[in-house]
Symmetry: C2
Subunit: 594 residues, 2 copies
């Protein structure tokens, strides 16, 4: 499955979603029909779940599959405008098949969402009868991905097209559960793998942006080194040497590395669970799998959200030239940003993790927890006193570069926010508020608590990862990046009521010092991503540093420069101009008639 991640553009969904849906939900007999063809691209499929009116509420999908016992067929319909499939990749123009999510109806009774294999185009690539299919129109980015809509009107498929590994509808129209059970362990592990891959994708996108922005900031100079210099040719400062610029660059660089550590850990843990004993430093105790899977929702959400913002801030770091598509960083931002919404909107995923956190808080009274919520076990101590949670006051700036001290701050925040919102929730329910209402009225707080929880877990993984390495200059550099990551989170988020004025002062000073310490390694740290120019694909992020030449060469090739005067000049502009006046050129002043 690893190779999927390098697939770009239109066939990503065929491989990543269509094939894996068959793999997971189809019976062996069904697999035998469709899988070999899909592997050889003899059919192209899409994953038709999302509808115009329904995304995150999958249970509310309105496409229906009604069983017709007479003909032994399912009749598929998208009865309303809102029930049309909307967004599936590979659907609009490419797909021959669709794995259609639809509500199963047997004898007028609802059986929930099931997946049906539907051929949508014929051998001449025309839509089959009852099928209307097309493209959604231009998007903000990622336009190499064909995204489409699909309407079904009485489309009939054989009974055997219900993907039936885990359940079936028999010839009499009875719903039959298969003896095969989904393996919850595998289910959780797969979830973590998928989300780990998405965190890895986030890190990869940010890596590209970091390469561009760091290289540009080394070549770009602006502002005289000596403010007293009066000549316009006086030497200037590399913009990477301005503190604010340096902070913006290095914090994203540190996030890139941290997310890479996290994604590697998540994916390797999956491999270890699958039985690959070569993996080290990863989960082997599977008892915490549900907790890990639940936390991974928030981690994917936070990673994609931070990376979308991070790419955009790095783009701004490239000034005006970051606005040119030729910069490579401009399209990167708009191509990436849908990932905060798709496969689970970030807010919903965060609240999903929130639900689990509050459940954990209830469960911890009954027995100790493990995995990412282990830190909640302190409340089991009958002597537990929340007022004594706060970490000791720092005695030096260096303490704010110490990974253990930083971990203690992150742990403290997570604990304080989770306990705080848990107590408030309980209070409101005790006062008679309905669970759902209390939940909604506290969602902003829950959101913050989940963020704190996930960032604490992310920091733990990052710290463990860098400590796996032998003492070396590479490890020292990695430790500094992780420390900067932690400090930048403290600078960003509102830690009011959690940190003292002294801690805040030390965080600022530690950040300033870390920036200077990381500076000598900055170029090596982006070169280490080993992205060739063809992948970075940027005029301003070129390895050889000849960015101004590249910008100019690209401009010359602009489509608008291929005709002169521009298209429309004769009709729209020339009639307005004073061509007699223009004939004088720059000698106009000397014309006596003026």
């Amino acid at each position: 499955m690893m190779e999927n991640t390098v697939l770009k553009g239109s066939l990503m969904n065929h491989h990543g979603l269509f094939v894996s849906t068959i793999n997971t939900l189809a019976s062996d007999k069904q697999k035998a029909i469709w899988l070999p063809k899909a592997f050889k691209f003899e059919i192209i499929g899409c994953y038709a779940q999302t509808e115009l009116g329904h995304g995150s509420n999958v249970r509310g999908l309105q496409t229906v599959a009604t069983f017709d016992k007479q003909t032994q067929e399912f009749v598929l319909n998208t009865p309303t405008l809102q029930s049309m499939k909307w967004w599936p990749g590979t659907l609009g123009k490419l797909g021959t098949h669709a794995a259609v999510y639809a509500e199963l109806i047997l004898d007028g009774k609802e059986y929930g969402i099931h997946v049906f294999m539907v051929q949508i185009r014929d051998e001449n690539h025309r839509p089959l009868k009852g099928i209307e299919v097309g493209d959604l129109g231009t998007k903000l980015g990622d336009n190499a991905n064909d995204t489409g809509f699909l309407r079904l009107e009485n489309v009939r498929i054989p009974r055997e097209h219900l993907l039936n590994k885990y359940q079936n509808v028999d010839a009499d129209g009875k719903y039959v559960k298969s003896e095969k059970k989904t393996n919850p362990k595998l289910h959780y592990a797969t979830m973590m793998f998928t989300r780990g891959m998405m965190v890895g994708g986030a890190s990869a996108a940010l890596a590209r942006a970091s390469v561009i922005a760091v290289r540009y900031s080394c070549v770009r100079k602006q502002g005289f080194s000596n403010p007293e210099d009066s000549s316009f040719t006086a030497p200037e400062v590399q913009i990477i040497d301005y503190q604010v610029q340096r902070y913006r660059l290095f914090r994203q660089l540190s996030l890139t590395y941290v997310l890479k550590f996290v994604s590697t850990w998540m994916v390797n843990s999956f491999a270890a669970l699958e039985g690959d004993s070569k993996q080290v430093g990863v989960i082997t105790d599977t008892s915490a799998l549900p907790e890990l899977a639940a936390t991974s929702a928030g981690m994917k959400a936070i990673a994609s959200f931070m990376v979308a913002n991070g790419i955009e801030d790095l783009r701004k770091c490239c000034g005006g030239n970051g606005y040119l598509l030729s910069s490579g960083i401009a399209p990167l931002a708009s191509d990436y940003v849908w990932q905060t919404t798709a496969e689970g909107d970030f807010v919903l995923l965060i609240l999903l993790t929130g639900r689990f956190l509050l459940k954990s808080l209830a469960a911890v009274r009954k027995g100790p927890l493990s995995g990412p919520v282990e830190y909640l076990n302190v409340v089991r101590d009958p002597e537990f006193d929340p007022t004594k949670l706060a970490p000791q006051q720092p005695t030096s700036v260096e303490q704010l570069m110490d990974l253990d001290y930083l971990l203690s701050l992150f742990k403290f925040r997570a604990l304080a926010l989770v306990l705080g919102v848990g107590a408030e929730m309980q209070k409101r329910v005790m006062k008679g508020q309905k669970q759902a209402q209390a939940w909604n009225s506290l969602s902003l707080d829950i959101y913050n608590a989940v963020r704190a929880h996930c960032l604490y877990f992310i920091l733990q993984i990052a710290v463990n990862t860098v400590r796996e390495g032998k003492e070396s200059s590479e490890r020292a550099a990695a430790e500094k990046l992780v420390a900067l990551f932690a400090n930048s989170i403290i600078m960003d988020d509102n830690w009011a009521g959690l940190l003292t004025e002294k801690q805040v002062r030390y965080v600022r000073e530690a950040t300033a010092q870390l920036l200077d310490q990381i500076r000598p390694d900055a170029v090596a740290l982006v070169d280490a991503f080993d992205l060739p120019d063809s992948v970075v694909n940027s005029t301003i992020g070129k390895y050889d540093g000849n960015i101004y030449e590249a910008l100019y060469e690209y401009a010359i090739k602009s489509e608008l420069n291929q005709s002169d005067p521009f298209k429309g000049y004769y009709e729209h502009m020339q009639p307005h101009l004073d061509r007699e006046f223009l004939k004088h050129g720059n000698k106009v002043w000397n014309q006596s008639k003026l």
Copy 2:
């Protein structure tokens, strides 16, 4: 000048920059030649300042204008790649003229940057001799604006083409200062007007985004109202009624209004200073003009930065459909975002205000300050004790909705951060650090202090504006928006060390309550912008609420849907497909040969 703001696309720079440069810097005789032609669009001009290698360091521009006494001409050159003009709007394809910023050289001596009128294209719209001109290539957004490059090789213009209202070069090649002096009052007022217009533009862009996101969030439903409902057709919740969504929507709505108040105040103050006595509630005391102008740099920076982020967050609030260009909100984000970089990068503008703040801090010991830095006067009191600055602890949640109490918090933060960074700066300089080095090492802190300073001033203007109105339901609604704005700033920024745990708790609760109080007015508050559908230009923000119909109609018209199969199908896709298999359609299961 007001009508300039409604100009869109390619001629904005002709009017807004070329014409106003002539107006400001040309002598009456010069104006007589070019202005009437420019007004009638008989010539089209651009403002050629920025170069490939220089943007914010205007003093470092490398284009040179050398005087040739023999011919009484200036010889203009962009001698290096980096000195080519790069970015000017209206230059690449449209401009006949350019106001060229160049270093004046007389007898080998540098005289600084001056502006020269250069005709660049002839009566057939071909570049004149020595001129290479073209388009920069596609940008992330705002592609209706023609942005170009310009290289000059020994381009000769008459001596009289130096815009010479304030200085001139005489026939002997001597530099002569004119007797006309720039009016500093007018200079500051113009600065504030321009920045006020940009803040207004920021508010207008966010208004459009708010209209779309609020309307969409009222139509879009997701998630069953009653979680126990088991049918897929059960009623669902409008997404505006989820707390996190509501917070994200209303905080931007409040920012829209606050920035509108601020921009109106800035522009009206300009009018009042220009002698329009009808203006009320604006500056009449011109002694604080320099302070106001200095603060306006940071205000423009913060406004454009917050609005760029705000539009993008509102775009995310529209889920997947916010990623379609047809949503209107997707192109809005990418069309707007250059404004955080152009006309002064936001970081540089913020640090500019920072320089002024530190100067003010030094000046306040010598005499009281007025205008936006008036609050610093407290340090003149010999009894002044910074430890007693903190506002009283709130005694109720309502206090966090009280505009005076919120003002006291913002004032406290501004004062604490400005004094803090001022003291640290002084300490470092006393220890022997160079001014420039100390400044750079504290830039992050200065950035935060300026943000606090500007947001305090913005809040003051907003509070004064809403209080000008009579008691009414509109005023009550506006007050709630301003209170939400203030609370959202507290939620966002790091107030650690400034707020107590109790204040934080009250802020969260006040925010939650304000969201519920604003909800009934939300639709009216966006309708009040009075933007017709033709301006909102959005499938998902339509006034009539028929967003799903609009999305579908737009999709049908997609260019990709105009040919079927898609272009490239026969060459690239058909050869791979198993067309025999596809012939069976959905009957494939029943084919005996399988």
